[in-house]
Point group: C2
Chain length 223, copies 2
């Protein structure tokens, strides 16, 4: 493979689009681009070294994911997700992840149970070692695993979209001092309920956890 990024040549076609999507998403999620900032097609196409068509498609795709807002004839801006919206999104996650936790408890296999138990240990370790970033990763992995076990592909797609919009809020939240300590027991309870194959308890645990996330969001630090 060649490193087609040399000056002068710009990526085209499918490759270009994927590249543009990745770069844009990264830029938005990491906060390199301020919320509300205008996204001028030609300008971005230049900086990412893709054709304008590729970048245009990328904008459309990200609009479907809720990361970008497009107004006809007026262009695109990075979508601002207010705290109220973050709460509303988390409420929907509560409903859907509750469903997934319940189904996961019904369907979990022995091997999957072992994976969950291992995650359990790693979460505990990350907290006691004081590694919030590691904890945040494991957190995401746990949610992903539960959804995976549930086999609910429709919910998985909906949740993927919701989470995409939340990445920034989630990240800020996980770095709040004391937050891992508070959420750890909630996560452990979700795992325990699924391993115990108790759907009602698993659903309640998942919902309790996200209720707690909502509380934390509404008590957002005053900046």
């Amino acid at each position: 493979m060649d490193s087609a990024q040399s000056a002068g040549t710009l990526l085209a076609g499918e490759e270009g689009r994927q590249h543009a999507i990745a770069r844009l998403r990264q830029a938005i999620v990491s906060g390199d681009m301020a919320p509300g900032q205008r996204l001028v097609e030609e300008e971005l196409a230049g900086t990412f070294e893709v054709t304008r068509a590729s970048l245009r498609q990328a904008l459309i795709d990200l609009t479907a994911d809720g990361l970008v807002e497009r107004i006809p004839n007026r262009g695109a801006r990075v979508r601002v997700i207010t705290q109220d919206e973050a709460v509303a999104i988390t409420e929907c996650r509560m409903a859907l992840e509750g469903l997934c936790a319940a189904k996961a408890a019904q369907r979990v296999t022995g091997e999957q149970a072992r994976t969950l138990t291992r995650l359990s240990d790693e979460l505990r370790a990350a907290v006691s070692d004081g590694e919030p970033v590691r904890y945040s990763e494991l957190n995401r992995e746990l949610h992903r695993t539960v959804i995976d076990i549930s086999g609910q592909e429709v919910a998985r797609d909906l949740l993927a979209r919701l989470n995409g919009q939340l990445v920034r809020h989630q990240f800020r939240l996980s770095l709040r001092p004391g937050r891992p300590q508070r959420s750890l027991p909630e996560h452990l309870e979700i795992i325990a309920a699924i391993v115990a194959r108790d759907p009602a308890r698993a659903e309640e645990a998942a919902r309790d956890h996200l209720r707690s996330v909502i509380r934390a969001l509404t008590q957002e630090e005053p900046r």
Copy 2:
């Protein structure tokens, strides 16, 4: 087929796209196009009298809505929604409409309560008059009203997408003999719980109702 409009002129741009989306959606949900049927861009652009670009955008939009399936370099087909998928979708509706019902019970105003009560009466009337189509319309209106009262816009968007995929199944279901008689009390209970401003009861009622829909779906008539 149809004689379309005037010969020779084909719609373009935004107008063309909207037209194409409307016609295509109509054709798919009404069953004019068999599930799995190939959707050739040029061919459809011809019959709908829009440019290929417009139709292409329409296909992309409908893909986002889950009505069409697109495979790179291989074209689009109308997406088949299996019974299992219909069940999975309804499970997600269960989670999300449960949330909306609960929030609606918290936020309902006096006027909204009166609207719901009126709907209650109309639903009863439609059943006792034996008008399944009217009942189906009122049914959709009820669900829409509840979501509206809840003020949960995120859930509203997700549900809109899910319902778009289900239209056909829902329609078939509502025409099953005896189905309105069975679902009427469930609908009435949802309304009663919201009017009584009891979130937990409203959530449970909404979930019970959709649980019943799932049961009906899995006992689909054997054709």
